[in-house]
Amino acid sequence: MGERLTKAQTIGFSITGMLFFFGIWVFAAWVKLAPREFLPFPWDVVGEGLKLLIIPFSGLTLQDHLAASIGRFMSGFFLAAAVGVPLGLLMGWYRWLDNIMTPLFDGLRFIAPIAWVPFAALWFGAGIGGPTLIIFAGAFPPCLINAYRGSLFVEQTFIEAAQVYGASGIRIVYEVLLPASLPSIIAGLRVGAGAGWQSLIGAELIAANSGIGLMMVRAQAALDTPIVMVGMIATGIFGVLIDFGLGGIEGWLNRNRGR
């Protein structure tokens, strides 16, 4: 494996990489690889982003759009986690449940979350239920799969130890399967959060009246590429933040167990 880097080297290389990325961007914009209104300079985008903090676009400022998106995200993501994780654990323990759920689930996972948009409108109208359903469709599979696989691959000896020491049924699920597969569950939540966030933005591009996705699609229709890019970068940054947050929990858990 490549030799380890010092902290300073890591930071140095990261900055180099970022500079390289922005360098290509600036170069492409500079030689007019695409017209300026479609390929602005990075500083145009930053300027636009700062402007958006004060001057509303499509009725709301950047932070208001972001807040609207995050609000929707939370409801869908928490629902996905609250349903997916216990269901996955139970599927890992009760074979009949596994047998019932797995074939249904195997079909559903190929269906794009945004394909649910028309059903979301039909079933939930304009309420919060629609976006919740779509985020749920994105975030649920990883939450479920990781809890399921995590509990399926819990070492047999833990389960047998629990049985020998008198535990059974639900007590095994919450005292053994849950903690034993927690790292896997957190990893699943992490992937699920990313997927949920992406499907939310996707859904907002199609049906919403606030949020980062809406901001982007309106900007696109108004040929305002810098705002589209502000939206992409805001999406990216918030996605990274979610990932970091859950990644931190994951690391903490693993450290606590001496991994």
């Binding site: 499509s58 028309p118 304009a126 009246n209 229709a221 305002d224």
Partner: protein, 331 residues
């Protein structure tokens, strides 16, 4: 006094929904005893699919047909005549040729938003150019996609509606090839109500209608103030629009006052004007397949009604309220 609730389904940054802002600013909802909540939808399809979450609303005439056939939406008035702002635009080096001789678009690809008023206008334009269904290739895309594809040069011919039309005109230099009006088809925007809700609360519908008509009259009468409001309203929908374009919006979109509405809706022995218009639109829906083969064309009598217009007309208070000048109020 208790205000009565009305849930409005709307779309942002449209001329036909601008009256809601006027009413809001002027406090007219309260004047007729209503308390409204407005929900915005990005397009007609999700709006009617979600029609359980609103009571009255403004939709394009094409979704209105679908709404009538599937979701029991009744057309109770016309919002405006949009024929001039649903149009085919051309862009690129050959655009002048196309304008000079529209028949030369034969064999080209036209991008439009399927099953929309833009689609309707485009098909009538093709008919006018003497082209049949198979002479061009039709591709369906969302308006935002057409706008960016057109201005970046990957689309030569696209069907758009306002205010996207102004964006491509002003920011990309696209040119008008043919509007619905040029093609001789009348494309209205529809004021609709969920039938069972309307039957349960006819007076709220009438009050709503009166306010809407009054706001339209006010916009017509006060162009200067109206432009200020409009700019603000469009900006809130993410559309920056020039002074010239706003004036075009007013000029290209005739509205109808109560008297005209009643005339349009009146059925004697023959079908009313609106019946005829909506029949054209319904046949179009059938032709493009959004009304399925097994679905009958909705009978105009079953979903087009002047019942609420008559309620307004029959109530002196509402009648004079709807007719801004007559009431002496406002401003």
């Amino acid at each position: 006094k208790d205000l009565q609730e009305v849930r409005i389904g709307s779309q942002p940054a449209l001329f036909s929904t601008l009256p809601f802002l006027v009413a809001e600013e002027k406090g007219w909802w309260k004047d007729v005893g209503l308390k409204v909540t407005i929900t915005n939808f990005p397009a007609g399809a999700p709006q009617i699919a979600a029609s359980r979450s609103w009571d009255v609303g403004i939709v394009g005439s094409v979704p209105a047909v679908l709404g009538a056939a599937r979701f029991g939406l009744h057309t109770i008035a016309l919002a405006e005549d949009q024929s001039a702002v649903n149009a085919l635009y051309v862009h690129g080096p050959d655009s002048d040729n196309y304008i000079r001789d529209p028949a030369t678009i034969k064999g080209k690809t036209i991008y439009l938003t399927g099953n929309s008023t833009g689609d309707l206008a485009a098909r009538y334009c093709l008919k006018k150019f003497g082209l049949t269904k198979d002479d061009t290739t039709i591709r369906s895309m969302d308006q935002a996609q057409i706008v960016s594809a057109m201005s970046s040069g990957s689309v030569e011919i696209g069907a758009l509606w306002a205010p996207n039309t102004y964006t491509v005109e002003e920011k990309a230099g696209a040119k008008l090839l043919c509007s619905g009006k040029d093609a001789g088809v009348l494309i209205p925007g529809n004021v609709v109500v969920r039938a069972e809700w309307g039957n349960a609360h006819p007076h709220r519908v009438a009050a709503f209608l009166a306010v809407y008509l009054r706001a339209q009259r006010w916009l017509e009468a006060n162009r200067k103030d109206a432009l200020v409001l409009m700019k603000k309203y469009y900006a809130a929908g993410g559309v920056t629009i020039s002074e010239a374009a706003m004036n075009k919006e007013f000029d290209r979109r005739p509205t109808f006052n109560l008297v005209q509405q009643l005339a349009l809706f009146s059925r004697g022995s023959q079908p009313s004007r609106v019946d005829t218009i909506m029949n054209i639109i319904a046949s179009f829906s059938k032709e493009v397949g959004s009304l399925r083969a097994d679905e009958p064309l909705p009978d105009p009598k079953s979903y087009i009604t002047d019942k609420y217009l008559k309620l307004v007309n029959g109530d002196p208070k509402l009648k004079s309220f709807a007719d801004l000048n007559g009431s002496g109020k406002g401003q």
